[in-house]
């Protein structure tokens, strides 16, 4: 009798194990289906413009929804330009922070103060960055534009780049810091034993060691900047033309979607916006995967 009972309980636990395993893998498959579903939906949604515009979609300069002319080139240029300038502005600062936290002040109250600053910076929502920029950076840029003698709009590529730069600093800095930590300690000790100063150590040992990791972090930060939407939409000036200089108003791929998607004038217009979304997805995924692979290879070493 008791034997029978144990058997039943064994069977029960076996069955609950099976159910448990199935639940686990179902959730895992769900994630896969979600990603594939997103990709398929974007491709299906952009079929009308793929049919009517083909490859020219990415190279046409004119975006005119009323005439049903859709060329994404102005937005691709706007996206790349803002992200590159933002990267150039933020790189020295984020590198300094990573050295500051990874080499000079590894522990103690100064280090935790700076970590907290980075965390707070990362926690501020995009829309608040955009809002503050409207009242802070826009007047400064306007002042510069008056000095330079160009139309003083204040909104444009430069303004958007500065906001973006601030937004990617915490991200880039934290990755670079992790990478710097990976420098083998015996190399550092060897350097110090030979009488190197800290600067020489960083210049000749840490940096060459961490170069590919820093590269990966930069790629990841770049990917983050490409897809940033709200702050950019608020300060870029929303002009659907190719910018002639870095103070011109423009639009990025993300901001054109934010501006026009909910009031798309026709099905083709909507399809064009979805195709821009598809391009944006592919570009950001590309930079993400490359950056992650780089870092993974580095961590294995």
């Amino acid at each position: 009798m008791t034997n029978n009972k144990t058997q039943v309980s064994f069977k029960n636990s076996y069955r609950s194990d099976r159910i448990f395993q199935v639940t686990l893998s179902t959730a895992a498959y769900l994630l896969l289906v979600l990603l594939v579903g997103i990709l398929i939906t974007l491709v299906l949604g952009s079929i009308p413009t793929i049919k009517s515009h083909g490859f020219n979609f990415a190279f046409d300069k004119v975006w005119n929804p009323i005439m049903e002319e859709f060329g994404a080139l102005p937005f691709i240029i706007g996206t790349l330009l803002t992200s590159l300038i933002a990267l150039a502005i933020s790189f020295p600062v984020s590198m300094s922070i990573s050295l500051f936290l990874g080499e000079y002040f590894k522990k103690g109250s100064i280090s935790s103060l700076f970590s907290n600053i980075l965390e707070l910076l990362a926690g501020i929502p995009s829309v608040i960055y955009g809002f503050t920029a409207l009242f802070f950076i826009v007047p400064i840029i306007r002042w510069i534009e008056i000095k330079l003698g160009i139309p003083a709009i204040g909104l444009g590529i430069m303004t958007a780049s500065i906001v973006l730069a601030v937004m990617i600093i915490p991200y880039a800095a934290s990755i670079a810091r992790e990478v710097l930590k990976l420098t083998p300690n015996d190399l550092k000790e060897g350097g110090y034993a030979l009488g190197a100063t800290r600067y020489e150590l960083i210049r000749y040992i840490t940096f060459p060691q961490a170069r590919s990791g820093i590269m990966a972090g930069t790629l990841l930060a770049f990917g983050r900047a490409l897809g940033e939407t709200m702050a950019v939409t608020m300060v870029i000036g929303n002009a659907n033309v190719i910018p002639k200089n870095i103070f011109d108003p423009a639009n990025t791929m993300a901001s054109i979607i934010a501006n026009e998607f909910s009031e798309a004038s026709s099905d083709l217009h909507m399809a064009a916006l979805i195709e821009i979304g598809l391009l944006l997805f592919l570009i950001t995924a590309f930079f993400n995967i490359i950056g992650k692979l780089y870092i993974k290879r580095l961590a294995k070493k």
């Binding site: 448990f20 769900l30 990603l35 709200m230 944006l280």
Partner: protein
């Protein structure tokens, strides 16, 4: 003599480099100080009891608050959490338990790519999946969009915390004859609970300020709404629409809303830190 001056030179260079690093690193404090100072200064002027308990008034009518947006944000967060947390945790358990399988690596890669998808693209997707078939903007669709953003974060933190739990615990439990599912549910997951909970709260703080996915899903609504099939307003949406409006009054209200949002987000992140501090299990 020249050797000595050489050393001095090197030391000077060293010092100069350190100074540069400190100055450059300190630059990052400037934008934070500016943003916080401005929000607190302008926001406090707008903030009052009426501001957080009244509905908005038409432009030109003084007074009015942002109750609809506060309620909307809480609704959206709740919907997203209810959807994303169970799936995310289960998925994280799967990846951590099958660490050596190729498929688990693939799922982890999926989570990483999902995390990198620009929020505006999530907005498009949710529009096509939920808003269009159900025939209109709704709080539910906004919650789905935020859930998609939240899901990969929950998956990653769950997996990372579970990876820290030592194998010996699992082996001991299995050796005592406890079934596999019970081992996970009663031994492994409780050990990692503080890490998972803190990850979940952190992901809530992340999505609370998201605007882009809500543009064409939850949309916005000047009235108080508790029906998940109708559009709702949210704090980020309210800040966005009022910030780009030409009215001075609305800017004031947007500053107030920004202060409320910042307080909300920072207290959620603080909560996540407290959870880790209080219930951290050491191995």
């Amino acid at each position: 003599m020249s050797a000595l001056s050489n050393i001095k030179n090197r030391q000077r260079k060293n010092l100069f480099f350190k100074a540069t690093i400190i100055v450059m690193a300190s630059i990052c404090a400037i934008p934070l100080a500016l943003v916080l100072f401005y929000i607190i200064k302008q926001g406090l002027a707008a903030l009052s009891w009426n501001f957080i308990t009244k509905l908005p008034t038409p432009i030109g009518v003084p007074g009015g608050g942002i109750l609809n947006a506060i309620v909307g944000t809480l609704m959206l967060i709740s919907i997203a959490t209810i959807i994303a947390v169970p799936i995310g945790i289960i998925c994280g358990i799967y990846i951590s338990e099958n660490r050596n399988k190729k498929f688990a690596g693939l799922v982890r890669l999926c989570a990483e790519i999902l995390q990198g998808i620009p929020s505006i693209v999530i907005g498009i997707i949710t529009y096509l999946w939920v808003v269009k078939p159900f025939g209109g903007f709704s709080a539910f669709s906004g919650g789905i969009a935020l859930a998609i953003m939240m899901l990969p974060v929950v998956v990653r933190t769950t997996e990372e915390t579970l990876n820290l739990v030592p194998n010996s615990l699992k082996e001991a439990s299995l050796a005592l004859g406890v079934s596999y599912s019970k081992t996970l549910r009663k031994v492994i997951v409780p050990c990692a609970l503080s890490g998972i909970a803190s990850g979940v709260t952190l992901s809530i703080a992340r999505i609370a300020g998201e605007t882009a996915p809500l543009l064409f899903t939850a949309f916005g609504n000047p009235y108080l709404n508790l029906d998940i099939t109708k559009p709702v307003d949210s704090l980020p949406m309210l800040i966005y629409t009022r910030a780009i409006s030409p009215y001075e009054e609305w800017h004031q209200q947007a500053w107030g809303a920004a202060l409320v949002l910042i307080i909300l987000i920072f207290s959620i992140s603080l909560l996540s830190k407290l959870i880790i501090k209080k219930w951290k299990v050491q191995f």
